[in-house]
């Protein structure tokens, strides 16, 4: 099998594998060699603030997950009544606010860059998937406030979900079910989709600007980003 466009030839390309484990290793190493997975440098066009918001969303997600773990270990009888509990609860909420703000600004930037170009369709789709799964996760979080707000949201939302035919399976008035969705299933889903999105960004590289000439040295297959840093 020939190497995909944009990857450099490595000894892995010529190696022959006979087992499924070896073939899987060869497939992975061809598409995601170590210098792509953890690059030393990025192309010069990445030196812009508009590229910061994707990483901002990831940092926010880390804060969400860590504060969420602390909340789940201590439980509502802690975070509803103690000062530290209120603080960690607020960190969880405001990390979500920052997560959505940075993610949507990242989405705006990538939309106007037409970031699905150059075989990056799946990168775009996984980004949209992360956005949609995050909305569902945040919705279940609002249902877990155990106050009049969450009661209101649940009993407004149930009609929409019932009309979509999933109300019996995803019952927003069932606190136990929503709790499990929020602290187990949906965080795993968000984490998996975001991880796949980041791996795809590493595989295909950051999308070049629309005005970049096709002859740009940084867009050529096997371009060494270190050698192009002089243009910065």
């Amino acid at each position: 099998m020939s190497a995909p466009v944009g990857t450099r030839q490595t000894p892995e390309d010529q190696a022959e594998y006979h087992t499924w484990t070896g073939k899987a290793r060869g497939w992975l190493l061809r598409r995601l060699p170590a210098d792509k997975l953890l690059p030393e440098d990025q192309p010069s066009y990445v030196a812009s603030w508009i590229y910061v918001f994707g990483m901002g969303a990831i940092v926010s997600l880390v804060f969400i997950l860590v504060s969420g773990v602390v909340l789940s270990l201590n439980g509502p009888s802690w975070y509803h009544v103690s000062g530290l509990g209120h603080f960690v609860n607020s960190v969880h909420l405001w990390s979500v606010e920052l997560f959505f703000m940075t993610m949507v600004i990242h989405l705006w930037g990538k939309y106007w860059m037409a970031a699905w170009r150059g075989g990056r369709t799946l990168t775009w789709i996984t980004g949209m998937g992360a956005f949609l799964v995050s909305i569902v996760t945040a919705f279940t979080g609002y249902l877990l406030q155990t106050n009049f707000d969450s009661q209101w949201i649940a009993f407004e939302g149930k009609d929409a979900l019932n009309s979509a035919g999933i109300g019996a399976w995803f019952n927003v008035a069932n606190l136990g079910q929503i709790f499990m969705f929020h602290i187990i299933l949906l965080p795993v889903a968000v984490g998996a989709v975001v991880a796949l999105h980041v791996v795809l960004v590493r595989m295909h590289g950051v999308v070049p600007p629309l005005e970049a000439a096709e002859s740009d040295a940084q867009l050529q297959p096997g371009a060494n980003t270190e050698s192009t840093e002089a243009g910065r």
Binding site: A47, S48, W49, E97, M101, I105, G109, A230
Partner: protein, 55 residues
Amino acid sequence: MRGLFDLVTSLDSPGIYLGWGSFQIQLGNLIVIILMVVLFLLALVLPFPSGRKRK
């Protein structure tokens, strides 16, 4: 002024709603959207720090 601050920051109040015709939005949501647009525009125009010297 204190009363307005309490109204904006209180979690118990329904919040302040602004409306133009059939369009209605909560003040907090409007502030967040404006902040996001400002951050987006600043990211496009502000120069990025050059960082360490490279070869």
